[in-house]
Symmetry: C2
Subunit: 257 residues, 2 copies
Amino acid sequence: MLTISQLAAYAGVTVRAVRHYHATGLLPEPERDHAGYRRYDAKAVVELIRIRTLAEAGVPLARVQELLAADEEEFAGAVAEIDARLRREIRERQEHRRQIARLAAGDSLALPDEVVGYLDRMREKGVPELLVEGERDGWILMAARWPEKMPEFIADKLAQLEDPRTLRLYLLIGDLLEKGVTDERLDGVADLIAEMAGEAAARGDLDRQNEDMNDESYVALIDSFASQSHPLVVQLQQRMAERGWSGWARMEKAEQP
Amino acid sequence: MLTISQLAAYAGVTVRAVRHYHATGLLPEPERDHAGYRRYDAKAVVELIRIRTLAEAGVPLARVQELLAADEEEFAGAVAEIDARLRREIRERQEHRRQIARLAAGDSLALPDEVVGYLDRMREKGVPELLVEGERDGWILMAARWPEKMPEFIADKLAQLEDPRTLRLYLLIGDLLEKGVTDERLDGVADLIAEMAGEAAARGDLDRQNEDMNDESYVALIDSFASQSHPLVVQLQQRMAERGWSGWARMEKAEQP
DNA sequence: TCTTGACCTTGACGCAGCGTCAGGGTTGCA
DNA sequence: TGCAACCCTGACGCTGCGTCAAGGTCAAGA
């Protein structure tokens, strides 16, 4: 007769595992000796090994019992199902590997490819890193709310980036951040924004974008995020208001009364 | 300001997940309104999305926090580690797929390939299925105790199977099972076993095998398993004892005094 | 005004498959 | 007789939430 540790050793499992199988009813409790120790015969070794074989093949313990008792047809069906699960888990993990490879590559924490491309383009053009990061977080919010509209949004932004004034705008803002805020610099930036926004409005671009961003409260949320991210935003919004522009993520020309 | 369900919806997670992240300290608890409801700003959306991005890439939640705060070098190291884990899990599952494919193919519940081949050969030779299954369970025990000696054991058995008397022996045992036990049949089987065992002993095969099975108590275990599996075994052991043979799995000629 | 339904809150159990104490009793050997 | 190496039961821990339970809150309709 065998003790539990001998049984476990022959089957290549831990004592704890054997007790677990008893507790779940997977392996029947054997006789006890006078001290209350479990005593096993050879059948238990065979049973335990059969259980382990299935378990090690990825069969959930809850299904091992039925599988051991199943006829060939059931068995084949169950095996097919388990194989499908394993394939799914492999696919998931392969997908995870791709994801973290992207993460390791750079910015792509939560961003669709287009945005990553756009941010890279900003860097190529020489936009200060701090501003690129600010844009990035903003786009995380945009992508969370309007994932399907991202290609359009980004196409507009890429086109805008080709206008030399855009780079000048970012550089001016960079100056504001690095060299300190002065009225002159604030006005310079605000004038430029107003000029470009005016043209976008004339082209109809603004209206189109503003229609796409059809969620008042979410736009407010993004604006509040911008305001929180740097005090400069609030100051610029004031200057823009003086020039008749309201909003931030979704900019609008105030009515001329 | 956002409620918890709005936050969750924007980030594409469940409300329960958000609360879980609060509970584990992964996402800071926000302000509460007068009713005790959590109120979120846009920063929380960005934070939550960043958390989910890592989590969905297979990063364990316990590590998400450090990864979000990590510099590039730490990040790269952690990513490499996670990638290694994913590769290991993929390998494990691929191995599982192979295992259950083998299980689906047939007998191989817990048996090395050689044994499966041997059992198949028995079937080809026309050995009754019931006896094949008996052999199978016995070999599960053998393989559990002496996995490294299995090729040798099985080579001996395969050679033995080529002796036409072996098939006759199995068929005689089959008769015993199907047609009922008679003294004549029992003696016929016992005589044949004794004859073949005597030759094996003369060739030295028995000594070699018995040396390999160098574990008294385990041999006793296998014998007790055989005895339990069918009453016929006990009867045959008696007839063998009358002919001067003891043991079963490990057969020995008693001393002639 | 009352009711309904959709939210929100905390607290607690459940899941898979054991690992790992804790706090005891037993056995076998020197 | 003492010690190491076993055995026992019971209970918590891990992962990432899902899923009640038992309430409180809020907005809208009858």
